[in-house]
């Protein structure tokens, strides 16, 4: 199964489950969770079911393309359903079938793994899913987001697309993954990985990054005052990514580090509150029963 076919199969599967399939969000971020489709939509009472591919940037994880399993840019497949359905684990196992993985042929385990992102005041509990000893998916029941309780609780499912495809294709390196019949992941991204690793660790200009952080932070605050939820959230994402770049560059000292994280968390919390207030003022429009598109029939296994 090619990389693009894996994405297509997951799109089809989760679309059939009633998820809205959205496209990647065009602001740099460290994880699919940070997309507003998850981070903001997990808040408040409105039902929500979504699936999307999300590019993730983790500057400090760059290895100049030398490590077969670790990169500073990769893709996650992200699903968020609120409220969490009762049979979500069965649904998930069916999604593996859609990828040609028969659960009955494998050792599948749900191993406790709780998640926390202090920088955005979010945490949840769940598992990593092991397929014959390989972590292929992360499951999280969201308990808090932006410091606010999640009610009802959303379930987040995150597939590591490259890991999963490496397993399906029986290859041992990111770069050998067949994207389609003609091109490998390496053909498309190895050079970018090398260059971005160089940028992240050597070529970035800390002075510029420090001032960018300040500017994004100021913009976020200004835009929040104007009650522009999404634009201010995007500035928060930029703060977070800029911080990650500074961190990878090794220029943030210990005391500064805690302070930077606190600054981002503070912004994220304010945006979360602003979003919730805005939805409330709009009367939580997705609560209307005639728009209830989230309860799709779940196919039997």
């Amino acid at each position: 199964m090619n990389f693009q076919s894996v994405i297509a199969a997951l799109h089809q599967f989760w679309s059939d489950q009633g998820c809205v399939i959205v496209q990647p969000y065009d602001t740099e971020k460290g994880a699919g969770t940070k997309s507003p489709h998850t981070f903001l939509r997990a808040l408040g009472p409105e039902p929500w079911s979504v699936a999307y591919v999300e590019p993730c940037r983790r500057p400090a994880d760059g290895r100049y393309g030398e490590n077969p399993n670790r990169v500073q840019h990769y893709y996650q497949y992200q699903v968020l359903i609120k409220p969490s359905p009762e049979n979500i684990l069965d649904i998930y196992l069916n999604s593996l079938k859609a990828l040609g993985i028969k659960p009955e042929d494998h050792d599948i385990r749900f191993v406790e793994d709780n998640w926390e992102d202090a920088a955005v005041g979010a945490w949840g509990v769940g598992w990593e899913v092991w397929l014959d000893g390989m972590e292929v998916t992360q499951f999280t029941y969201f308990q808090q987001c932006g410091g606010l309780d999640c009610r009802p609780v959303s379930i987040e499912i995150t597939y590591g697309l490259e890991r999963l495809t490496m397993y399906l294709q029986n290859v041992n390196s990111f770069w050998e993954i067949r994207w389609n019949d003609q091109l490998t992941y390496g053909d498309m991204f190895l050079q970018s990985e090398i260059e971005n690793s160089t940028y992240n660790f050597e070529a970035s200009d800390p002075e510029i990054l420090f001032s960018l952080f300040k500017l994004y932070e100021q913009e976020a605050e200004r835009l929040m005052k104007a009650k522009l939820v999404i634009p201010s959230y995007e500035q928060v994402l930029k703060c977070s990514h800029t911080f990650n770049l500074l961190d990878a560059r090794g220029v943030i000292s210990v005391t500064e580090r805690t302070r930077y994280i606190a600054r981002i968390r503070n912004l994220a919390r304010q945006v979360a509150q602003l979003y919730l207030k805005q939805r409330e003022e709009m009367g939580f429009p997705l609560l209307k029963s005639d728009r209830d598109t989230t309860k799709a029939p779940v196919e039997a296994a």
Binding site: D105, H106, V254
Partner: protein
Amino acid sequence: MVTFLLEVGTEELPASFVDEALTQWRSRIPARLADQFITPEAIDVYGTPRRLAVVLRGLPAQQPDRQEEVKGPAAQAAFKDGKPTKAAEGFARSRGVEVTALEIRATDKGEFVFVTQTIPGRPVAEVLTELVPQWILGLEGKRFMRWGDGDLRFPRPIRWLVALLDDQVLPITLVNGSEQCSSDRVSQGHRVLHPDPVVIPHAAEYLDCLRAAAVEVDPDQRQALITAQIEKAAQSVGGVALVSPRLLQEVRDLVEFPTAVVGKFDQEFLELPAEVIITEMESHQRYFPVLKQADSSELLPYFITISNGDPAKSELIAAGNERVIRARLSDGKYFFDVDRKQPLEAYLPRLETVTFQADLGSMRAKVDRIVAIAQQIAKQLKLKPADQKQIARAALLCKADLVTQMVGEFPELQGVMGEKYARSSGEPEAVAIAIFEHYLPRGAGDTLPQTLPGQVVGLADRIDTLVGIFGLGMLPSGSSDPFALRRAANAIINITWAADLPLNLDQLLQQVVSDFAAAYPQSPLQGESLLQQLREFFLQRIRTLLQEDRGIDYDLVNAVLGEQDAEAGDRALRDLLDLRDRAEFLQTIRRDHRLDAIYETVNRASRLAAQGDLDTTPLDPKSVVQPRLFQQPSEQAFYEALLKLVPQTRAAQANRDYETLVTGLTQIAPVVSQFFDGPESVLVMDDNPEIRRNRLNLLGLLRNHARVLADFGAIVKS
């Protein structure tokens, strides 16, 4: 008699919670039943990742009937002339009995009316229906969650309930928002090996029904199966499995249907340090490594995983796992190679980015403090310049591996990797070993550092932590000791004792506390008050270690440490070795009965001397006793014996020769005995203050001689 089954079906529970929950049930369920006068013949608890269950066998179908006595009005008010009054009638009515059922009984407040009633036992089904929800929702654990749109809290979502009294469903319902979970007889089998529901006809058939659905619900049974399979699997590749009990228990609670699967990895990975391979396997993959032979540290290129899958698919499952371990070991090899591309010293600047403690700054700052403290210790111990140089080097490098990729990935390899990287960086062997050893002991029962640099750097690291964290006012209290300060202090004492380091801990603490004040002038606890807290903390640790680890009787510990005796405490901290030797020597002479000959007189003298005003230093009677005041020859004899004892005690003091001291005390004891009780004995507390003081000084001097060893006043028996 009936059998009751409760099964709480869940999504996959954290492995650690399964055991915690069953432990709670094991003690709570019998207690809650006993509250209701119900005693089953057997209570068995079971659990897997997907269920917690309890089976009560030999349960009475009914609570027993009980007699209950209810007190009514005073007899005087209830009966007039043998006839019941309105009060009696009212009471009888309120209890639903005839007036004739009332009895009069005497109490210590006079006679009262009583009624003895039989409370009929309720059906056990009724009682269980009330109790069971609390058994489930009363469980406690670390991280509970909410799910769906409800408010229930449990470690993972509850998905089904089975509650059977013999073959009858006992109705129990848990509501979580719009979800409703009602008990039935339908359980779930293994997630993939038995996807169909499991119908349980009778509570007594629980284990068999689930076994038929590829679930072994009994954890002990699962563990036995796993242990036997691991052993066999290791034998099949000619080795012996390395089984950590903690991992075994975790794995037991990660699977419902265990099958040991053996996998192989490339021989070339055995070039990695064994610690790295074992850590990859155990903590990341929950694999059991295979050793060439028991007690060997040499690995074979195999691993054993406990699969929750179909035994018939073991080959496919092994192949998948082999790819994972290959990738992991490749990672490990990559880290190992990359880490060694630069010398260990080159990692120092990056320690700036690692926090030690928010207010105490980075690990880099801590390293500088460790270097300084290690140097102070080395100077105090008058170590050779060559040793001092190695210590300074090891102190500088002891934390450098924290920012290597390998330790970033496997924090538990701190020190282990530092040693290896130091060696490959061409550092002296002693420095490499010290980097590893300075973390020792890592827990109770772990080995202690064997080399001088390892010992000194280990002491310095811990002293720094203790002074710094105490300085912030973050003293350990009760069970809260997040920086493991008790363990750190214990390690300092144990290392000093085990290596016989003549360390003046008191002086060292003074020095470090004053350097700390200079570096962190804002810290809440400083100077003498900080020092005092540290002294008390160490003395408390020493007390515990002497009693618990070294088996010294508590009164003998009091005799060397003093109870509220600052002088004794200071002396202890100035010379930990002498303190230990004195405590052990006291225990020895108690055991071999040498204490018998001196205990009584010296103890009596020491306690009486407290009524005088002689301080604890003088030994020589010439300066503090006036023979012209003697009235009895026993006083003169005491005086002369003390004169004789002076050079002996001085020599004992100088050489810490407590044998000689005790010999001296043994010689003087009969003389003092005559002074107390002989035919020419005296009354110490004479009316004449001069004479009294003279006699008390004689006793005070004896006390002082004995004090060279210990405060005999604190000893309670021979």
